[in-house]
Amino acid sequence: MRRLAGLCLLAVIVVLLPILFPDNYYVTVVGVTALLHAILAVSLNLLMGYAGQISLGHAAFFGIGAYTSAILTTRYGWDPWAAIMAGLALTGLVSFLVSRPILRLKGHYLAMATLGLGIIINIILVQGEQLTGGPDGLGGIPTLSLFGWALDTDLGWYWMMGATLLGVVWLALNIIDSRSGRALRALHGSEVAAEMMGINTTAAKTGVFVLAALIASLAGGLFCHQQSFISPDSFNFFFSIELVTMVVLGGMASTYGAVFGALILTFLPELLVVFEDFEVMIFGAILMLMMIFLPQGLFVGLQNLALRWLNRRRSAAFGAVGE
């Protein structure tokens, strides 16, 4: 159970926040977005942080999940849950087909290929007006119902996203602490050595790539019903970069770090709004400074800073004693 201590803590926090601050905008509205971002960040973290495969196009799978569900429910009258399942199926297919050629690439080339993929899918969303509503977006998406209860309040969606996040974190933690998780970390550490240990690295990479895509697709499916209106702007290159930033901010091979990073990056713009016109500039500056001085991520970086500060105090104390 020690394994899941962190998850229990996270669950407690997720449950307590709306109880302690019931009408707080930051909890119920921004919080829902933060939870959604956290789901996406955890999925990307499995791919990037553990398996070491850069992806600058993760928003694409988020988009496929969202648009599939939105189109099937608005234009064809499908049941929302069935539509989300269909979105998962389509995402699974696309990610599998794309994974074989893409995952042969490494480093910058992989980054650019995923970038290209993400942009192409976004352009399809914009151009396919007949189906997707084009740049003006798609509205009138019905909300979800769970066991007869319609999710039409902020608080209802908070619980839905919160439960999904806890489920996804549980899945991620399970995978990491297993033969498959070790195989992923091994191929990140040294692909050739991993092969020599009998790990089919191609299959492993494909597996985690598709899994991450499926989780993103689920998030997309939930998102479109929560928002009731979606547009291609939510699924573009910039959002993919935001997701990568969340993962990196939190510290790459850390599931909780990804959640942490998602939290920070969701609340940061709320804080930056104060700076109005300076907002974009400051965001860029923060990114650069963060990567230059704390490349291992905020989570780990702050831990290290704290340790170093503690050590300095300790040696200062000893120094005083020694004098």
Binding site: A113, L117, I119, V280
Partner: protein, 292 residues
Amino acid sequence: MFDQILQFVLTGVTVGATYALVALGFAIIYNASDVVNFAQGEFVMMGAMSAIAMSAGDGLPIFLSLPLAVLVTIGVGILLQKFAIAPARGASVVTTIIITIGASIFLRGVALLLWGKSIFAMPHFSGEQPIHIGKATLLPQSLWVMGGAAFLVLGVHWFFNHTTHGKAILACSCNRTAAKLVGINVGMMMLIAYGLSAFLGAMAGILVTPITFTSYDAGVMLGLKGFSAAILGGFGNPMGAVAGGILLGLIESLAAGLISSGYKDAIGFIILLLVLFFRPSGLFGKATSERV
């Protein structure tokens, strides 16, 4: 039909020349420092925007603001190297990618702050009277773009193959330590490489903006497509990058004209994916392998 194609070719080569300059800038930085500079497109934007800003209203005359804008952009490039890239030497691929993306966002933020979201125009260098070639038309500015790009490309080629500084930069990219050992000031070479790259970007900006207009986020797509062009030509081969740029411009223009203009932007990225899937070393690049 032929005239239509000719028109597309002319447009394509003009746009392609811009891509070529951006791609060349990418290649130079990548060769010198193994960094993929996502802020490359922002150099183009800065060059154009600062020129426009300096000569706006009762500002400087255009023949002063153009070179000043280029200098400003070179300065930005050098600052980028010194304060964002150099401190992070040895960082992982993801880290450097995010640093340059952060830089691109930062520069866009500065532009947004200074000049807002408006679209800006720049006067054509030698008038807007179209030149007729058969039934196709060509703006005089297009000739400036193509000619300017050709001149710059030749200049860069001469620089890298016939000057000591140029060869020194190439040496740094092959083996940094060895370069230091023979007395090359690697830090200075890096600054020159980034400055040169920014110079090319700024020139692309002031050459093409009279035709395309500019705004604070004009650099984004340009940067990405320039990158695609560099990969198409063979990452690491500067002249290949140039060829890739022109080729990309042509393909984009022909596809937009003959197939569909909505998906025009997708062309560049589809080509990118195809190249990466089937021939990652590009048209003219060298394949490398890893020693185990």
